[in-house]
Amino acid sequence: MDANRGDLHHKAEELAAALPPLLVAAERVAMTVSQGVHGRRRVGQGETFWQFRRYEPGDSTQRIDWRQSAKSDRVYIRETEWEAAQSVWLWRDASPSMHYQSAAALPSKLGRANLLLLALTVLLVRGGERVAMLGTGVPPSASRAALIRIARGLENGRAAETDDAPSLPGFEPLPRYGRLVLFGDFLSPLDEVRTAVAAFANRGVRGHLIQVFDPAEETLPFAGRVRFDGMEREGEILFGRVETVRERYRGELAAHRSALAEIVRAAGWTGSVHHTDRSPVAALLELYLALSEVWDR
């Protein structure tokens, strides 16, 4: 008996300790979003009460709500809200370029991607969906344990600082109609991106691409004589006066982004851009609504 209690205590401690700070932050973000979003809003399989309906012939007598029926002459049936679980695979880019942050006050791109990913996980788990990280081989699960596992995975991944993490997700045979959400900067050559996306899209997997960008990458706010270094061994380049190429850089970026959008559209996916100096809540809401739309369709 005592040993049992000790064991329980031990587990509880372990559980509490396992709750990483990232998860706490993610839960906070998710809380904000979930208050603004409601369930599936249609009758179906589920546990949440949806409405009372007049009994009609053919309905199971098992479904009659006797308590409600006793209040009047009619017989009522209790209907619940439809809650169908989906499987969602998540992935984020952990390559060195994601460690970039232009100012100490801003989070790194990877940090923001992790937060968004985990907050989305929280929302999904709360909604009863099954979630898994792409590339880990773990099957999707809707349990809270899965949430904690994912959070730990992200933390460990961050600690490991893998230099050779891929910039794009490797292909993995996912079930048809699975959902995929990818976070990253997608600065790789467009052909590589197209290949990676197409591989999943051909399997009938639908997905969403979130391009996480630092504001400095958007505007190139540097001036003077600057030597730029690539973060993934791309090489280096020297500019005498950076301000002169700023406009052209923006043009290049816009071209890259529209090409990326074309790739996404062709695959029937959706995509969005998020900047690290913006609120994560807005991005999460947008993302969540996009996913809901996918399901509602």
């Binding site: 600065l187 004589r225 030597r227 690539g230 791309e234 020297l238 005498g240």
Partner: protein, 921 residues
Amino acid sequence: MWSISALSFAAPWVLGALALLPVLWWLLKLTPPLPKRIPFPPIRLLFKLATREETAAKSPLWLLLLRLALATAVILGAAQPILNAEPAFRASGPLIIVVDDGWAAAANWSSRKALLKALIDRAERAERTVVLVTTAPAAPGAQASPLNLLRPADARSVVEALQPKPWKTDRRAAVGEMTGARGLSVAKAGEVAWLSDGLAEGGLGSLLLDLQHLGPVTVYGDPPERLALALLPPVPDGDALRVSAVRAVAFAPLAVGVRAIADDGKAVGRETIQFAADERQAEVRLKLPTELRNRLARIEIEGQDTAASVVLLDERWRRRPVGLVSGGGALGNQPLLSDLYYLERALEPFTEVRRGRIGELLARELAVLILADPGHIDAAEQRTLDKWLRDGGLILRFAGPKLADNPEDPEAASDGLAPLLPVKIRRGDRVIGGTLSWSRPAQLAPFEEGSPFFGLTVPTDVSIRRQVLAQPSLDLAEKTWARLVDGTPLVTAEKRGKGTLVLVHVTANAQWSSLPLSGLFVEMLQRLTALSQGTVTKSGGPPLEPLESVNGFGRLGSPPAGALAIPAEAFDAAVVKPQHPPGFYGTPAARRALNLSAELRELQPLGALPAGIARDVYGKSTELDLRGWLLGFAFLLVIIDLIVSLAIRGLFSLRRYAAAAGVALLAIVLSTPGWAQSGQPRRGMLERGDAFALGASLETNLAYVVTGNPQIDDISRSGLTGLSTVVRRRTAAELGDPVGINPETDELAFFPLIYWPLAEGTATPSAWAAGRLNTYLRNGGTILFDTRDQSGGPGFASLRAFSRALDIPPLVPVPADHVLTRSFYLLQEFPGRWTGGQVWVERSGDRVNDGVSPIIVGGHDWAAAWAMDDAQRPLFPVVPGGERQRELALRFGINLVMYTLTGNYKSDQVHVPEILKRLQR
């Protein structure tokens, strides 16, 4: 030395480095600024932009010019450029500098010092040694600077420490030492520069000839408008001071501001001395109100900082000190009845008033001695007085009961001394207009011509009720200075030796007459004081120690270490010398001033110089060393270059730092106290004492002493609250809420009655609090001591301890006809919570405080009987009991409050039948 027009270079070879500038140009042009490195993820996008890479790999032209200017400034600075350099010395050998550092040198000291430094700089450049000779005697204790060859660097440190001395120069001694047998070892010395103070103190001609043996001599002098002035000690002239100043050269009209400074450093007066064009001495009358004149500590010339531009003033220039002697003392605790109160109030504005015994007062200088009915004066004192009087003192004596009782001192008469009275006085006094007399109080007659009071208007409201009478004699009329309308003398006087003895035939307080209350009294005292001959200086006494000394710049400070005391007899003849610097001597109470300018009746200019001696003035040299300016400019350029290079490399964003500086500035502005606290009300300024006084004085409040025992304090507070309520309800007295006080800290004067519950172990008030309590009792306050134990218990023990600390008069049980028994209700007993004990008051007949007993003592625990809760229900039972006893307790309380508020008013009610009868008539 190498010169281009006005510009010369002390180290011209350094200029060769200018040839390196083109090389520097080339080097700077070659080296591009270092780029900054930035890691950047979207570098693939940047690769596409690199098609036409234009590398601005060279420094901008303006930066190049900036750096070249920097290098040029450093090179030029290192070459030690000098603008308008002085020519080289005429002779070889050491440079002999003779400096006048007496009092007159302080007038233009900064230019003297600048010239000294410039000369030493020149000697350094010419690689000469320096001999520095000062002509004023060194301060005692200070090391006289040895006469030898100095390196210019050492000479410079000697010059830094050089200060003008507050005494005269002694050129003959200084130069004699140099040219004499034990003088300079280098016989044929170099060049001589004499930095004179422009005055011809102690002769010059032969000295200059001696110096000419050493080498060519240049004498530097001041232009006439910068020569030192001397302010002579002022001379009293009636009610003003004649202040005069002297100058050495009468060159043009000159206006000199003179400032009079009081003891506390405040300027109290200002006048301008106007020199006509041909005048070397001028004066002005400095007229000050007597109050201010008595506070004068010094007079100084504005804008002059020499020891002779300041005159220190001591008692010789003050208004007459007046000594007060009173025979009274028993009544000393009631100021309005004191013999000296009106005298002090009348004299203080225009004289210095001292009080004390005759011996003490005469030990110092004194102009007037006032004896206010002193009573018996013993023979020794009388002899002293007599001597002082005959030496020129003025004794003003007031009559009084003691004189009336005992007009002839038998002891003094037996000693053969004349009594200190100008006329013979009849025994007994004369009462005019008293209750047993039909006459009215007498008026003053107008003053006769020949009386010192002649011209004063006699107010009609001055009346004399009592006086002492002079025995008629032949010379009485001529000895009389003032008389009443009936012709009896009021003021009589007699010359004795050089002094005057004056007797006023009434008291100095308002008991016998209303004279001391009138303005005439003040005017008469002013006339009498003016009559005195000033202080009669006493020679002898201990040597006068230096107290404060004037330094070379005319500022007062602590005396230098070597200053010596001056024997008191020799002080008048003392002259300023190093052992006796000018300043104050003596004790702070009786200080004497030794002024340098007292010896300077006249100032002589330098005059003509022997042939072959060059003459120059100070401040002509415009030599300017440019090295510091150039190096400073170079340093500024270095800082600009640093900022610019950082900015080019992007490590330093000008815009961001400007924003940060703005934020810092804003923070500084916001954190200034004026801004931060301007919104806060200044309630904290109202100190607790003021708040207490406001609360206690807006209403009449009863007070109780906080004992520290919460139970007793509660009873006291609720008891007095209950009593105040009842008093409000039944009488016209509107009492506020009672106040708990602590006699150690709180002001007691606001409270008519203080309730003081005593218990075992009540702490006796400290000596300070006891003093405050005694003052309170003396000035009309009343304290009710309650031992709370029906008398005889431990409370009485603490009362006994109190009586040792406080001034408690003899006490008696309340008599049956005491005012306390009928001030509101008619009472015969004073029960409280208990009854049956005695209540004690001051013995009647001691008519202090209008007959109101300052102390009432009992043990009936009245507060407990008065105590009521909010619903006006009594809190404590009375013993033995009954509503009657409580009612009587309250009645006692009301009687007590009425007694303290109205005093003996009710005791006058015995006369009511009489008053009514008079009104009917």
